[in-house]
Amino acid sequence: MNISLILQMAADAGPDRVGLVCDGRSWTYGELQNAARGAAELLLASGCAHAALLDESSAAAPIALFGAALAGIPYVPLNYRLANEDLAALLGRVAPACVIGDLDRAMELDPEGGHRCFTREDFIAAAESAGADASGEEREGEGIAAQIFTSGTTAAPKAALLRHENLLGYILGTVEFCSAGEEEAQLVCVPPYHIAGISTLLSSFYSMRRIVLLPAFDPDDWLQLASSQQVTNAFLVPTMLARIVERLEEGAEADLSALRAIAYGGGRMPQELIEKTLALFPETDFTNAYGLTETSSTIALLDPEDHRLALQSDDPAVRARLGSVGQPLPTVELEIRDEEGRPLPAGQRGEIYVRGEQVSGEYRERSALDADGWFPTRDAGWLDEEGYLFLDGRADDVIVRGGENISPGEIEDVLLAHPAIADAAAVGVPSTEWGEAVGVVVVYKPGQQALDDDALRQLVKDRLRSSRVPEQIRVRDSLPYNEMGKLLRREIRKLFQD
């Protein structure tokens, strides 16, 4: 199997149909296919082991992705926002690579790596010109379509491997070929090194929904592009959605009348934000997607009908589903398990395990799958009686106080419900008496009176058991997040080390 089939089929069915719009240029599926074939020739001629992208999104991303697939080598999108030291380590791990994008930085950081470097423009031009005489032959190689370095919020980045069969399994199982109308356009603004940056290319090409690429997210650019390109579909992480909503509330002008559907995921969606957004876009379908790099993107989703039912319901259990990530895909098996790996019944918190064709669970160093093919996600959560999945932090984030497991989420929810509190995080802090105790960091809204420590403790005590009452409290102006909106808990823990 080879994901190059996706672009091949789109190019066969609609060679002259526009598949991509980026930086003022349109690409037909036929032109993209030609460039991908040319890119494969370049990659093979370079003798490199990886095709690494060190750049913002552009046409070079799909050309390199499908070119690498044809050449039988992994496509490795690198996070250009990393500090030099971290990026140098990753470049060393993929050497020798064909590096596309910031060639000066690649050469400076890993001069001995034997990398073959191209600027974005040179790579595209060379791929296009090599396309005419390219064989288009598929090579199997190791069978790895993409290698993505995880964000490493808890440790050094792991090299997650996605095989052709994982990604193709995901696409064939979730997307109907050529199901998009000619007028449909998907606005893509996630960075190329994020799993959604790859899966959205595959899904859009297979459904033949035109991609409108925004090289780097900015809320005003997003609104301008959504209007001018009459975008019908978009994917956003919650922090991006929050900034778009904020600009609209400030009176930014945008014609979003064509916008039919917004999918969101990649981080926790605050209840207040989703309710506000649904009110602001009453005609738009919303889908909440939950997935991981290691699962080739989405494994569970809360569909538009679920959103409407939850919003309209008086039943607290149904209404609460607005805070869930919906139900597992029909092609994925999902279980909640305890620390010994035993399945737990509905309502009980444990670790989320998944199994399915799209689930890789494989790293360059080792596979995390168990003997039966289940992947322990390290995400914690629980299922309700109807099978809706609620996320509850990372399994590693559990605070163990005197043998009692405490989820940071329950404490954070109580704090966030207070009108003066803008953001809050709870972590385990060392305690001589309990082994671990609760530490919280609180961010107050501008102009709001801060609560004193006793009042804050009382707030938690009124709602939760006494073991949840924070022993240590810190106040900060903001909490540390990565650019995808993931809270960096290891940074939070450092605040308590003094």
Partner: protein
């Protein structure tokens, strides 16, 4: 038949990719499908001439074989002489 294998119809333009393999004979237009056409050509058998649709997945009733149509043609697909049907899947909203 290994998943990922591509097969061509001997009697029409149909091409498929094997998603789930089977030991049986995979046919299109009434004739066994081949990895490379030998140029002999022919016409689909009238009993297997309903055509194939690009991007559809075809399965037998037991779910032992699954084929993805990657090029459409005039013949229709069968396993050991028994016609395959289109796999109906729940349509999902775009999530990425």
């Amino acid at each position: 038949m290994k998943p990922g294998t591509k097969l061509k119809s001997a009697v029409c333009d149909t091409e498929v990719m094997v998603i789930r393999g089977s030991e049986g004979s995979v046919e299109c237009g009434g004739a066994p499908m081949v990895e490379e056409r030998d140029g002999s050509g022919g016409e689909p058998d009238a009993a297997f001439a309903e055509g194939t649709q690009m991007g559809k997945r075809y399965v037998d009733s037991d779910g032992t074989v699954e084929l993805l149509c990657i090029k459409p043609g005039k013949g229709s697909l069968a396993l050991n002489g028994v016609a395959l049907g289109i796999k109906e899947a729940k349509s999902l909203p775009s999530s990425d």
